[in-house]
């Protein structure tokens, strides 16, 4: 399994990774190949074209890809973990047959719109709303910072269908929206610090009418499933951060061995270089143990929601620090984009915010701790 990912990365991803970062274009051909190779339905049921495998396997694949082109894991995560997770948990058999099979094969690209321009991830404050009119819902409003827009064939969106309960979040419904739906407007791509190629932007709904049977799950009660699919995406951020950190570390190590200073490799000349690399490596091995220990819990059905969030926090932190130190070891050359190491720091910075910021995740964990929901074992 991992060899398949390694070969894919070596032969197809690595040769174009810098180009994707430079142009910012969605890597459509790589995404298609990811579908052909089975990477888009790893944890999905075999009945709908998935492989029915565990999250540890998915993590190993994501880790390999993140070593070369982190943004491809962002494209895949929004598609397979967020949208796919919701379809799998909430979809009717007919919806799964129609959409989940094409999600697993990559025939359809999916996007997931959750964040509102008002209130961020606090759906209570969101203005976007849906009103049932006969056999159709009429939807108005916006979703911002949505990945895979423009290239997506299908959007899963979260929209208020009644007043939202601030505790249970009841009142939010999920809908399946086909790309050609009248009233759906796709905004332009945001220019970002990192994740170039994620096709991120705003989608707007203006009297957008969608059939009643495009409601995903029970009306007003999608947030429990959303919490699970978000946790799955947070879990994947752990191995993604790990892969990015490994790539930046390896580049820095190789550079320190090949860069001659005072007649010897920089690694041998400067104790500080060695110590930096040892610290980077230690953080990587700590993260690896945390990632695969937590995923073993997930696969055994023993995952704590807090730990899923911690994995994203730690994955982003380690990737950011290791990539920053890698640039430092390179010196001035590390600041040149052609070198290819600085993009890992830019992507790590976005990983610390995109999908859910470290602070938002800490707030959730802190609340769980405050009310005794996450006691020490």
């Amino acid at each position: 399994m991992v060899n398949t990912a390694k070969k894919f990365v070596e032969k197809e991803v690595a040769p174009v990774a810098l180009q994707v970062d430079e142009t910012g274009e969605f890597p459509g051909q790589l995404f298609k190949r990811a579908g052909e190779l089975g990477f888009l339905g790893i944890t999905m049921p075999e009945q709908y074209g998935g492989l029915g495998l565990d999250f540890t396997t998915a993590a190993l694949i994501y880790e390999e890809i993140a070593k070369s082109l982190p943004v491809l894991t962002v494209n895949m995560g929004a598609h397979a973990e967020l949208a796919g997770g919701l379809l799998n948990m909430l979809g009717t058999p007919e919806q799964k047959e129609k959409y989940l099979t094409k999600l697993c094969s990559g025939e359809y690209i999916f996007a997931c719109g959750s964040t509102g321009p008002e209130g961020g991830d606090n759906h209570v404050e969101h203005a976007a709303n849906a009103v049932l009119d006969g056999d159709e819902y009429v939807i108005n409003g916006n979703k911002v910072l949505v990945s895979n827009i423009g290239v997506a064939d299908v959007y899963i969106i979260f929209i208020k269908t009644s007043e939202v309960d601030p505790i249970t979040r009841d009142g939010i419904s999920a809908f399946i929206v086909d790309k050609n739906t009248s009233g759906l407007t796709i905004g332009s791509y945001e220019r970002k610090l990192g994740w170039h190629g994620s096709a991120t932007g705003t989608i707007s709904f203006s009297d957008m009418r969608i059939p009643k049977d495009h409601l995903l799950g029970p009306e007003g009660k999608c947030m429990q499933a959303t919490a699970v699919s978000c946790t799955n995406e947070f879990l994947i951020c752990g191995p993604v951060g790990l892969g990015m950190a490994e790539a930046a570390y390896q580049m820095a190590f190789d550079y320190s061995m090949s860069r001659i200073q005072h007649g010897v490799p920089m690694y041998d000349r400067f104790q500080v270089t060695k110590f930096k690399l040892v610290k980077m490596r230690t953080m990587i091995e700590e993260l690896r143990a945390f990632v695969y220990g937590t995923l073993a819990d997930k696969d055994a059905g023993n995952l704590e929601l807090c730990e899923g969030r911690m994995l994203k926090i730690r994955g982003a932190e380690v990737a950011e620090e290791v990539a920053r130190e890698a640039i430092q070891i390179y010196g001035g050359v590390g600041c040149i984009d052609e070198t290819g190491v600085e993009r890992f720091w830019r992507d790590a910075k976005v990983l610390a915010i995109g999908g859910a910021s470290i602070e938002a995740l800490q707030d959730f964990i802190g609340t769980m701790m405050r009310y005794g929901k996450y006691p020490l074992a």
Partner: protein, 256 residues
């Protein structure tokens, strides 16, 4: 139903080989893999089977370690795996290997086409296909980059020095392919998963009636170390630099 058999060799991964300062070769950390060229033979098998609808199988002869290769081989498409695992394979020469393979092929029902690589990525001796063909008394076509199959007739394009040659041959036959034209795709995860469920058949050297004693023995192996001259031609324009490079190569005896 006719069967197409792809033969492959389990070799040491050349990227894991270490050349010691005394030019001895350290293989202690080398992992095994299917010879890169042989992956093209398997791909050619699948492409021909897509034209004919024939059954497909893989066949390999190696040390007992070769069992590790079966899942990778079958993830590339063939339906059945045949293997001969024997410690004697470690010292087997081309004669022994081809005798074992030919004997094994005789046991596979309906075999009408055997596809090998032109050579393996470790020795590239180019002997197996012609020898297997001779032992089976089947025609052999080597250096093939393209095949079209109509019934029992195969029209093959051979890539030779300076020209392409088109030949026809009737099955049963042995074909040796070059990697060009048969780029092996990366097996998808579904193919990897299903490979573990495909039927395997282990064959023994004794039951095949083969003598594993090699006629040719390897006495020693020494690594090749490239010595760089570290000469950079900087004077003049591009044309002058090329002229200087050619002169230097002639002086070294590399060009005549």
């Amino acid at each position: 139903m006719a069967t197409i058999v792809a033969c492959y060799k389990w070799v040491l991964d050349e990227e894991d080989l270490v050349i010691n300062p005394d030019r001895s070769i350290d293989v202690s950390h080398a992992r095994g893999k299917i010879s890169e060229f042989d992956k093209s033979a398997i791909e050619a098998t699948m492409q021909v089977a897509a034209q004919t609808g024939d059954a497909t199988a893989t066949l390999t002869f190696g040390t007992p370690d070769v069992r590790k290769s079966l899942k990778d081989a079958l993830s590339r498409g063939p339906a059945t795996g045949y293997w001969v695992g024997d410690a004697a394979a470690c010292d087997a020469d081309a004669l022994v290997t081809s005798q074992v393979l030919a004997s094994a092929i005789r046991t596979i029902d309906g075999t009408s086409l055997v596809i090998c690589a032109e050579g393996a990525s470790d020795t590239y001796a180019r002997q197996i296909a012609p020898r297997v063909g001779a032992l089976l008394d089947w025609p052999t076509v080597t250096s093939v980059i393209e095949m079209k199959v109509e019934g029992d007739s195969i029209t093959a394009t051979r890539k030779l020095d300076g020209c392409l040659e088109t030949v026809t041959v009737n099955r049963p036959c042995v074909i040796a392919v070059l990697p060009a034209g048969y780029e092996p795709p990366i097996p998808g995860l579904k193919a990897v998963l299903s490979a573990g469920k495909k039927p395997l058949h282990e064959l023994g050297i004794a039951e095949l009636g083969c003598d594993p004693a090699p006629a040719a023995k390897v006495l020693s192996s020494q690594g090749f170390i490239a010595n760089r001259r570290n000469v950079i031609f900087v004077d003049g324009d591009a044309s002058d630099k090329v002229t200087s490079l050619v002169s230097a190569l002639k002086k070294e005896g590399m060009l005549s």
